[in-house]
């Protein structure tokens, strides 16, 4: 690897090149499958629709296949690849983004359903140079191993603290009429929609607790 023409190589670049190579090698089979799918769905050929929303403060107008999830719109059309696709079924939380101030699974909403909305992704929370306090805390407390769930964990944690502040109860809230306190049990319950396959949970909890203390 003395030839540094190949550097810097982003992981995204490597993945894109890999995918392109693969597509070339399987073109005949892919074409056949594609034809089959098209003919089978003659009554349901792809339908396009327009949608406009703001992502991290910037307005975007897109024309998308109606099937495009918000997650795919962010990743594949706006190249904001911080939000991750884990299960694509709302079970893992890796795709968590903040829409109009609320955390949701971006894999389980159609992009076209988000007309006029304000979307915040991990890229909008902070940058390597100017990290959001939650990002900083995850770094300091080593709140990850592989990092794949981390953008979803951080977006979820940021919006979760706002939910506590707004008094939203959880399954761990014993007294529904009191303002919830962010105990360890409350924090774990409220973050149960974000799965970490590396099980960095104890450090994730410490990171979130530190931010919660600072914000209190």
């Amino acid at each position: 690897m003395s030839d540094d023409r190949f550097l810097p190589v982003s992981r995204r670049g490597v993945l894109a090149t890999g995918a392109a190579t693969m597509a070339v090698s399987v073109t005949p089979a892919f074409a056949q499958t594609h034809e089959l799918t098209r003919s089978r769905s003659s009554a349901g050929k792809p339908s396009m629709a327009k949608v406009s929303f703001q992502v991290n403060g910037e307005p975007h107008s897109l024309e998308l296949d109606t099937r495009t999830s918000l997650l795919d719109a962010l990743r594949e059309h706006l190249e904001l690849t911080g939000s991750k696709k884990g299960c694509d079924h709302g079970q893992c939380g890796a795709c968590t983004v903040i829409v109009d101030g609320r955390r949701i699974n971006s894999c389980l909403t159609l992009a076209v359903m988000n007309e006029g909305r304000q979307i915040t992704t991990i890229e909008g929370l902070g940058s390597p140079e100017a990290m959001h306090p939650m990002q900083q805390a995850f770094v300091e407390h080593d709140g990850y191993q592989c990092g794949y769930c981390t953008p979803g964990q951080i977006c979820s944690a940021v919006a979760m603290l706002d939910e506590v502040k707004a008094g939203v109860p959880s399954h761990a809230t014993a007294d529904l009429t009191a303002s919830p306190k962010l105990t360890n049990a409350e924090l774990r319950e409220r973050m149960s929609g974000n799965i970490c396959r590396c099980a960095a949970y104890s450090n994730i909890v410490e990171a979130i607790e530190e931010v919660a203390r600072g914000a209190a």
Binding site: G44, S47, D88, G90, M113, E115, P169
Partner: protein, 316 residues
């Protein structure tokens, strides 16, 4: 996912009319269950009518002292509403026992009522399922039945209703309000809203084609101690194996409903009357005629113990 066309409705009546006249059309609200099923091509709508943004997201008092919950009120907002927390605590408890924070932020009141079963044979398109493909048979019967129904099921289907919210609504005797394609509205008692599977398990509610839920009405507050106890395989973010919604009133009129045991929230009014006699008598009445599968006979015992735990907590 199969391709579909998409439009935003301009009013509930218009949405109902479109879905009624368009073959393959469906409403979409939060989308958390429908999109999941569309990705697996278990649901294959050819047209989606978006019913968000129609002003159905308010919770308002009714003239007779109850609450009217708009169909598009998100599960989080319903659980967090101070009137619900104070006067209908069983509903708030049930809502936060379900799904995850992210899902509750998107999922709606109407969508929660219409969510499909999580029977693994319904989800596995390689298996027969009368609910997914009428007439194909039931893969669950004789299969892995730990999660399945123990009462009210049929030879065609042993799936359970997965909703926590609906169990609380059944205990509270809520009413579902709808609008039909011709603009007529009707009120459906929650007891009549979900159907037992019979030989048509693919028809899960009494809604007509195009009929749209506009809201859910809670009667005036019942008072008492209101509890929801959910037993599941994980401490959080899992569907109920058995759940119990209870409203315990010291002066009589207590009621109890079970989740995770049938194709609909399970309440037997005669069992309510047995609550003063304890968990065994109550559960015996609730589950009279139960026919568990080989792997879920434990649910009968678990239901009794969960009712006992709820009764003990209500007294404490």
């Amino acid at each position: 996912m199969k391709a579909f066309t998409y439009e935003r409705a301009s009013s509930p009546a218009q949405a109902a009319a479109i879905v009624a006249r368009t073959p393959g059309a469906k409403f979409i609200a939060g989308g958390t269950n429908l999109l999941d099923l569309m990705k697996l091509e278990i649901e294959t709508p050819t047209h989606l009518v978006d019913v968000n943004g129609l002003g159905l997201d308010q919770i308002e008092p009714t003239p007779d002292g109850g609450l009217r919950i708009g169909a598009m009120v998100r599960n989080t907002d319903l659980a967090a509403d101070m009137r619900v927390r104070r006067d209908y605590a069983v509903l708030s408890h049930a809502l936060v026992a379900g799904a995850s924070g992210q899902l509750r932020n998107a999922a709606t009141t109407a969508g929660n009522l219409l969510q499909r079963t999580r029977c693994p044979y319904f989800y596995d398109t390689n298996m027969p399922c009368n609910k997914r493909k009428p007439g194909s048979g039931c893969g669950a019967i004789g299969g892995y039945t730990r999660q399945h129904a123990i009462i009210g099921h049929s030879e065609a289907c042993i799936a359970t209703n997965p909703s926590d919210m609906a169990v609380a609504l059944r205990a509270l005797d809520a009413t579902v309000e709808t609008i039909q394609a011709d603009g007529k509205t009707r009120s459906i008692p929650i007891a009549d809203f979900h159907r037992l599977p019979g030989d048509t398990p693919h028809i899960e509610t009494v809604l007509n084609r195009g009929e749209m839920i506009t809201g859910v009405v809670l009667p005036k507050p019942l008072g008492g101690v209101q509890l929801y106890r959910k037993v599941r395989d994980r401490a959080s973010y899992a569907f109920a194996i058995v759940s119990v919604a209870a409203v315990m009133r010291p002066d009589g009129g207590s009621r109890v409903a079970l989740g995770g045991v049938a194709h609909k929230p399970w309440r037997v009014e005669a069992a309510d009357a047995r609550l003063p006699d304890g968990a065994r008598a109550t559960t015996a009445e609730l589950l009279r005629g139960a026919r568990p599968q080989q792997e879920n006979a434990f649910k009968v015992i678990l239901a009794e113990r969960t009712v006992a735990a709820v009764l003990a907590k209500a007294k404490a």
